[in-house]
Symmetry: C2
Subunit: 163 residues, 2 copies
Amino acid sequence: MDMHSPDCTHEDGAHPGLGGADLRHALVDAEHRCSDIQERLTAPRRRVLELLLEADGPLKAYDLIAAFGEDGEPAKPPTVYRALEFLERLGFAHRIESLNAYVPCRMDRTGHAAAFLICDCCGAAEEFEPDFAPGRAAAEAKGYAVKSVTLEARGLCPACQAG
Amino acid sequence: MDMHSPDCTHEDGAHPGLGGADLRHALVDAEHRCSDIQERLTAPRRRVLELLLEADGPLKAYDLIAAFGEDGEPAKPPTVYRALEFLERLGFAHRIESLNAYVPCRMDRTGHAAAFLICDCCGAAEEFEPDFAPGRAAAEAKGYAVKSVTLEARGLCPACQAG
DNA sequence: AACATACCTGTTATGAAATAACATAACGGG
DNA sequence: CCCGTTATGTTATTTCATAACAGGTATGTT
């Protein structure tokens, strides 16, 4: 499922991970957004979000499981999967289906549709704001009530086309 | 991952499976399309395509594995996964990432992007022809060279909204 | 026909991803 | 404080997918 070449040496340049003050600020912001809607950013949820924000690219669930403990102790799978479910539900993270991997949300507003440009060479995944007007029209024409939409475009990022 | 309610009793009405002459015709047509491009619709590939065409909705890989043998003997996983890879490559089938499931292609022309309306209640998956002009524009703006695009819209089909 | 070779299949085993089920603990309102 | 609700901890299992290699089959060439 992981389609990008293992030997690709290009920078995974789309989204360098957060650290230091940026990371702390993002986490505090998430706390606020949670308490505003009476949800709890508990320790395991916060830890998984932190790992996603620190990463340079999409992380697999078992990457998160392995990295979970500050001391190197892995988490149990349900711990991480539950946290991911929560983060997705609140719009703090997205699952990329075609990679079986997760990224923190890069968009300002919440509740949006998730759309990604995925580089098959370096593995970068760039979120963008899609215009789904045509898709919605097709759905309505067939009578569907659409609740969520995901779009995943695979190809090569600028750096990997050049290299 | 299988998000649709197990207790849903609605008809899975989008695409009743093929049978009899329709099925035979579809398989013969596939044979022709293969030989036209010097590809071989071998026995296991043909069998997997047949199972997909007969089905009323998306099939999981292990559904195909279990149903593979005419005599009830299951296939070995690689047999089915290889056939699916072939069928996808030639555009005879699509993988629906958010279901871990497969459907036969319902579109006339080949090489198109895959887009689905998926009912979370009855599990129906309806293929449609998306208009990706907006997405392509976004990709080009970021310098991506897009090779393939998949879109999956989750929601409720007309029957399940009514029921 | 004999051979080379490219492609496809059969088989065993394993790896990777996700969830079921149930027990325990923490929060928050009455 | 008590209880319902929500979240976590833990064990085990299920589901999904591929690696690796041996063996077979179609095809073109001489």
